[in-house]
């Protein structure tokens, strides 16, 4: 599964409780819209660590890395060691 699909699945199940009526595109603002709250950010960090084996340092916890599925995917992709 693509990185963005795995993130989407996590967000839908864990933050939206399966509510598919929310229009969730890769660019939907996750923080500003309240889909992810402050605890949700910590959950996301935990999910990234469990799923992709990546530790997210505090200085990377920024809206530019977290505010949409696309940004999260880009951040993870760029952090995953090549090969």
């Amino acid at each position: 599964m693509e990185i963005n699909e795995r993130i989407r699945e996590f967000v839908v199940e864990n933050c939206l409780f399966g509510d598919t009526s929310v229009d969730l595109t890769d660019d939907t603002a996750l923080l500003d819209s309240g889909i992810i709250d402050s605890t949700g950010v910590i959950e996301m960090v935990f999910f990234i660590s469990e799923t992709f084996g990546l530790e997210v340092p505090a200085e990377d916890m920024l809206p530019e890395n977290f505010n949409s599925i696309a940004r999260l995917s880009a951040y993870i992709e760029q952090r995953i060691p090549v090969g």
Binding site: F17, G34, S38, T39, I42, L62, P63
Partner: protein, 659 residues
């Protein structure tokens, strides 16, 4: 303290049978287990279940005037009844009882319904005036005591609790708007309920009903008001300190009036410590104090409670609230609150009043109201910080103040200013809205609507709770100081509607325990409301500044200097990593969720799994989980399983006919 119930025939036809007053009253026996009386003629019925506190020997109600043309019942107390009675006697009124309720009867003879303005107390009353053919209901200024009403089959029915209306055959159905309100504000809006067609008399209001007329009229006899910012008085803090001390001493002295011993709740915070200190100093004997201890260290304040009890020399009692006890008690608590909960603190207060009852006490003092009237809550600080930030919305540093306010919320501490912005920066610059202070909180809580079933969501498409609040706010509100606006919003939508009900009257009266609140004395309220905001909240660490100064030398120093810890019961540790209790397993199952029809089954499944397993369970998730579980309990007890619940939970009592 007591339970009241009654009915009035609204149709022109005389002789229509009244609802079964006895059946109604048997649902309120927990409020008044000691004796019961009623008055009934062919148009009106008043019934009263009594817990004797004042006039123990001869206070059977309803109480008539000299010629039997006025009959009154009261749940609660008029603390200034001694002074009022002296005046009435001087003016020639004959008193037959020592009950404070009789004061209202004679005062009404003199002044009509405006008599209610003279009462300093916490009460819900009903008064039948045969001469004017008018039934009057009334509630105290802040709504300490409940009073619900409805109309059904040509009758006007009222009662201290909704279950008594249901016992009279009133249809039972959840109200969609009420549900939306609870899952936004934690309670229905003042005057409403979660049951369709059931309403509550507003705090500070009287309601009139007439036989043979369908028209009900509600009228405010008191308004919560603050001074305009440009007209605020400016006195020295020393003057305010003196005034607070004198007024609070007097408010406490009045609330120690009872023919039975009075105890005090002690949380370990400033407010209850101050009240306990004042009460102990006024009493010739040792005060009984009671407190809750939690198994979860993050919520436990027992070391402070013991410290205060030791220094004041009170007889202290503690109830240990562990996870098992909280889980086991929850259904009984919901039977009493009659409204879903989003937090578990009412369970702790329920267990606490049980402990009080076991020690044979029935009147307790509390510190409730100090946070609202003297600026003790984090939401007040949050409002001031957001207003400060809104003046420079691009500031990188200003949002950091928010993580300082919420030091007890761990998840916030790891967030940078950039990450705080999306959470606290919403509606940041809308500072000219009167309810600016509460927008974020309501918006956050409203996220729990995600759990609602699609049908319920659809029926709420055009309903916006915040709009309903906005139209009810006083027009002059924007002339008040920003803190006063936040206080008004907090007091009307949270203190009166939630704290005094689900965390106050209902869980106290579940065990026939009456709570008295010196900070809610009308003279305390008037005083605190005219103190300028700058003496209430001074910076992020200066909450309740002027009250703290007033407490110096009265309450122990360690407590006066201590910062507030939010008083609440744990949730995460009660359900995380454990199997659900049997009732929860059943009520949260797919078939039960489908049967009640309020929530989406798949959403509930995911939420429940998260509650039990996930290491991270946010504030909103916690509210959603408790909200779903308690709504299912309400639906089960009051709708699906009502006949059985009523039969097993009612307690019989013998009613004496009067008149």
């Amino acid at each position: 303290m007591c339970g009241i119930a009654g009915a009035l025939n609204l149709t022109a036809a005389r002789g229509t049978p009244l609802p079964d007053l006895h059946a109604m009253l048997t649902m309120l026996t927990h409020r008044g287990p000691e004796e019961a009386g009623f008055y009934a003629d062919d148009r009106v019925g008043l019934a009263h279940a009594r817990l004797s506190i004042v006039g123990v020997g001869n206070g059977l109600q309803p109480i008539p005037n000299e010629d039997g043309t006025i009959w009154a019942i009261c749940n609660g107390e008029f603390f200034n009844y001694v002074e009022l009675r002296d005046g009435l006697r001087e003016r020639g009124h004959q008193f037959r009882t020592d009950s404070d309720t009789e004061v209202l009867v004679h005062l009404y003879e003199e002044q009509g319904w405006q008599a209610i303005e003279a009462l300093n107390g916490q009460f819900a009353v009903a008064l039948w005036d045969a001469r004017q053919q008018r039934l009057m209901l009334g509630r105290d200024r802040l709504g300490v005591r409940p009073l619900f009403y409805t109309t059904y089959q040509g009758q006007f029915l009222f009662a201290s609790e909704i279950k008594a209306l249901f016992a009279a055959g009133v249809p039972r159905q959840l109200d969609a708007h009420g549900m939306a309100q609870v899952f936004t504000l934690w309670s229905p809006l003042p005057g409403g309920s979660i049951m369709a067609g059931v309403r509550e008399v507003l705090p500070g209001h009287v309601l009139f009903a007439h036989p043979g007329s369908a028209e009900l009229r509600q009228h405010a006899y008191w308004h919560l008001r603050f001074p305009a910012a440009d007209e605020i008085e400016s006195r020295t803090p020393e003057e305010y300190v003196e005034e607070i001390r004198a007024t609070l001493q007097q408010a406490t002295r009045l609330r120690l009036r009872a023919d039975v011993p009075v105890g005090a709740y002690l949380s370990g915070g400033l407010d209850s410590t101050l009240i306990s200190s004042i009460a102990q100093a006024q009493l010739p004997h040792q005060l009984h104090t009671f407190s809750v201890a939690f198994h979860d260290d993050a919520y436990d304040e027992r070391s402070y409670q013991f410290q205060v009890a030791e220094q004041l020399g009170t007889l202290h009692h503690v109830i240990e609230c562990d996870a098992e006890r909280i889980r086991a008690t929850l259904p009984d608590v919901l039977w009493h609150t009659e409204v879903p909960l989003l937090r578990l603190t009412p369970v702790a207060m329920y267990l606490l009043s049980q402990l009080v009852h076991q020690h044979g006490l029935k009147v307790m003092l509390s510190g409730e109201g100090a946070d609202e009237f003297f600026g003790g809550y984090d939401i007040f600080k949050e409002t001031l910080v957001r207003r400060f930030w809104a003046r420079q919305p691009d500031s990188r540093l200003r949002p950091l103040l928010l993580s300082r306010i919420y030091e007890h919320i761990r998840d916030l501490q790891s967030l940078s200013p950039e990450m705080l912005r999306p959470f606290f920066g919403q509606h940041l610059t809308e500072t000219d809205l009167p309810y600016y202070s509460h927008m974020l909180r309501w918006q956050n809580t409203r996220r729990t609507h995600r759990l609602f079933a699609p049908d319920l969501v659809a029926s709420l498409a055009d309903y916006h709770v915040v709009d309903t609040i906005a139209v009810q706010l006083p027009r002059e509100m924007m002339q008040w100081e920003p803190l006063a606006r936040a206080q008004y919003t907090e007091i009307t939508t949270f203190l009166s509607a939630y704290l005094l009900a689900s965390q106050g009257d209902r869980v106290g009266m579940a065990h026939a325990v009456e709570c008295r609140h010196p900070f809610l004395d009308q003279h305390m309220v008037a005083l605190s409301n005219r103190i300028p905001a700058r003496w209430k909240l001074r910076g992020l660490r200066g909450e309740k500044y002027i009250l703290r100064r007033a407490a110096q030398g009265i309450a122990p120093d360690e407590i006066v200097g201590r910062l507030k810890q939010p008083y609440r019961a744990p949730i995460r540790s009660v359900f995380n990593g454990r199997a659900l209790p049997d009732y929860a397993q059943e009520l949260l199952s797919d078939p039960q969720i489908r049967a009640s029809g309020i929530f989406a089954p798949q959403a509930v499944r995911l939420l429940v799994a998260k509650a039990q397993k996930s290491p991270a369970f946010s504030e909103v998730d916690q509210m959603a989980f408790i909200g779903v579980l308690t709504t299912q309990l309400i639906h089960h007890m009051f709708i699906a399983d009502w006949d059985h619940q009523m039969a097993t939970r009612r307690r019989d009592l013998r009613m004496t006919r009067l008149g």
